[in-house]
Amino acid sequence: MENKRNSQTIAEYIKNWSRKHSLFIMAYGTGCGAIEIPATLTSRYDAERLGIRGAATPRQADVLLITGYLATKTLKRVIRVYEQMQDPKYVIAFGSCTINGGMYYDSYNTINVLEKYIPVDVYINGCMPRPEAVIAGFQQLQDKIARGEADNGTRYKENLEWYRANQHRVIKNWRMPDYNW
């Protein structure tokens, strides 16, 4: 992949630099992975030194953490939270479950591949990933941001129809108000 960093304008560079060093995370504690977030953010691993801090609402958040398997029911919520986040936004998916369903691969009500429903920037493997891995994942995201490659929101918008089709396929009762975001 081509390194875009050198082709950035000064303004873009500053923007990306600040984005990189200030990641407000929206932790969506779906599965067992949620237990790793506190560990990551508190004294032992101290993610705040990287500029990572929690945000309580999607409006303020930069990063959406999907921490584990997603039931179709929760997927609906995830989609909504994701869509409410403001550009630029990033998604980090935790654990095997978000990659291929993991141990729930044949469950009737979980999704297997998160990428089909919302775009993901970084996957962190493991079941569950330890905080070290999480921080490594964050660093990877930061690199990506700095390079200007984290175009999560744009991807979603461009392929909205595809994502929507996938979402509709899983979520049978799509009774979500479409507020035209």
Binding site: I14, K15, S18, R19, H21, S22, F24, T42, S43, D46, E48, R49, L50, G51, R53, G54, A55, A56, T57, R59, Q60, D62, Q86, D87, P88, W181
Partner: protein
């Protein structure tokens, strides 16, 4: 009209300084908090980074005109109050050149009311977003305000009574003349005001207004991007304003910027320290807290002042 130009320049300088100091203090707090918790913590410039990021973010939505105005109310209030507050001691050399602004045209009670201006505007904006959490946060914030205003006002009344003036410059000048700071000549009032400042800064234990897990950060829960950025700026300026006001009123003001920084920082550490060691109060507990010992101290202060 070179006076006007200079004044505008001075006003800009004051604003920038207030902004910078406020932001830096926030960063330092974060760092210190992290150290206290045995963490490395972010850099002390982290707040600036956050601000730049917020401004760089796209702001997709707003919830109507009051939502749009909300950050404006805050920054307007912050800038206005800043213009009317003497940043440095009137006798100091720097003051007359750069920081006189409009300080002779307002007094303490005006400032008290002007400081509310921002919160009320913010509350309106938060209300319009339609998020129930915002409204709940606002009600908590306003209730808490009623709580801490009482000791605060008691302290101010003691001050005004003691010095027979409501003008901040005069208060500073009298402290200067007598050589005794208010915080020593009437320690009870100072203590009451100090307790009130805990609530004003909304650090723990008085941070239920924007309880992140419960209320999704309360009033600001629908604001992101540029709105949040402007709010942060306003908040920083306000932090500076409150500290400066305390320094002016209780510590005889500052003659130079370093002195100001030292005094304000020392004051600032009080709520921060208090926050480190305290869990969170519920709103009614917070209000009762302020209506308890701080109010008693304030009344004592007034009695002493009257004597």
């Amino acid at each position: 009209m070179e006076g006007i130009g200079l004044k505008i320049l001075g006003a800009l300088l004051t604003t920038i300084m207030a902004f910078a100091v406020g932001m830096t203090y926030g960063g330092i707090t974060r760092k210190l908090t992290a150290r206290v918790q045995n963490r490395v913590g972010p850099t002390i410039w982290q707040n600036f980074i956050d601000l730049v990021k917020l401004q760089s973010k796209k702001t997709n939505i707003y919830h109507g005109v009051m939502g749009h105005f909300a950050p404006m109310w805050i920054i307007t209030a912050a800038m206005t109050v800043l213009m009317f507050i003497p940043v440095l001691h009137p006798n100091s050399t720097w003051y007359s050149t750069w920081f006189p602004n409009l300080t002779f045209h307002g007094d303490l009670i005006f400032l008290l009311y002007m400081m509310v201006f921002g919160s009320l505007g913010m509350a309106l904006g938060a209300g319009q977003t339609g998020n129930p959490n915002s409204a709940i946060g606002v009600t908590r914030g306003l209730s808490q305000m009623v709580g801490f205003e009482i000791p605060f006002v008691l302290a101010l009344v003691a001050l005004m009574v003691q010095y027979k003036t409501t003008s901040i410059q005069d208060i500073m000048a009298i402290q200067d003349q007598s050589g005794v700071w208010m915080m020593f000549s009437n320690p009870f009032s100072f203590l009451a005001a100090l307790f009130a400042s805990l609530g004003m800064f909304r650090y723990s234990p008085f941070d239920i207004v924007g309880a992140p897990a419960e209320l999704a950060s309360g009033p600001v829960s629908e604001f992101g991007g540029k709105y949040l950025g402007v709010m942060m700026t306003g908040g920083s300026i306000f932090a500076f304003i409150k500290l400066t006001l305390y320094v002016d009123l209780f510590m005889g003001g500052a003659y130079s910027i370093p002195e100001l920084l030292i005094k304000t920082f020392a004051l600032y550490m009080v709520p921060v320290f208090y926050g480190w060691v305290s869990p969170r109060y519920r709103t009614e507990q917070a209000i009762r807290y302020f209506w308890g010992w701080p109010t008693a101290l304030g009344i004592l202060g007034v009695i002493i002042a009257v004597w």
